[in-house]
Symmetry: C2
Subunit: 111 residues, 2 copies
């Protein structure tokens, strides 16, 4: 399916349905919401902590983390054999802003 492309204006000025949808999609699973919520409380943690948190296999958790990373909501830095995860605050902020902008048209009208 193809939607009209938005011109990529100087640094994310406009509300972009595609990128908003992709962030929502990443948050569209309870496990991933719990991960984000947890990271926000705990600030940063190892993958294993999240595995302990959720009633899911390690491989499944890793998959969910990958999904969140690809959406840009979470960052992971490898520290030896471990990986330390934390939120990408900037991206979450963008998300929050977009939610507020849900009421703004691409033409910039106020709601």
């Amino acid at each position: 399916m193809q939607f009209k492309k938005q011109s990529i204006s100087a640094e994310e000025k406009e509300f972009d349905p595609e990128s908003f949808a992709s962030m929502c999609k990443a948050l569209g699973h309870p496990a991933r919401v719990m991960i984000v919520n947890y990271l926000n409380r705990i600030d940063r943690c190892l993958c294993g902590d999240i595995v302990d948190l959720l009633p899911l296999a390690q491989s499944t958790v890793s998959q969910h983390l990958k999904c969140l990373k690809e959406a840009g909501l979470v960052k992971g830095e490898v520290e030896g054999p471990k990986t330390c995860y934390c939120l990408d605050k900037r991206m979450l902020k963008k998300f929050t802003r977009m939610v507020a902008d849900l009421g703004l048209s691409p033409h910039g009208e106020k709601q």
Copy 2:
């Protein structure tokens, strides 16, 4: 998959990953985001208007609307052979609040 049940405390006090995820999921497709965005600008409209808006078949649009209705984000009232759609402002407000609460733990800590 099963996550711990939250007690249903008096009227949605706590952050509930399940219901937040289900709203995000509903918004996890560009077509549905565009519908919500459009409805917010236009206030209310017929299904056909949305069909015109999107590069999708009528049946597909109807399906997306059903999805949004099931998530509670959109309401549709039948008016003869037509159906008039509008946002459920209350639900959208709840969504906005939950996004803000993403940083609040179920234990009520501030971020």
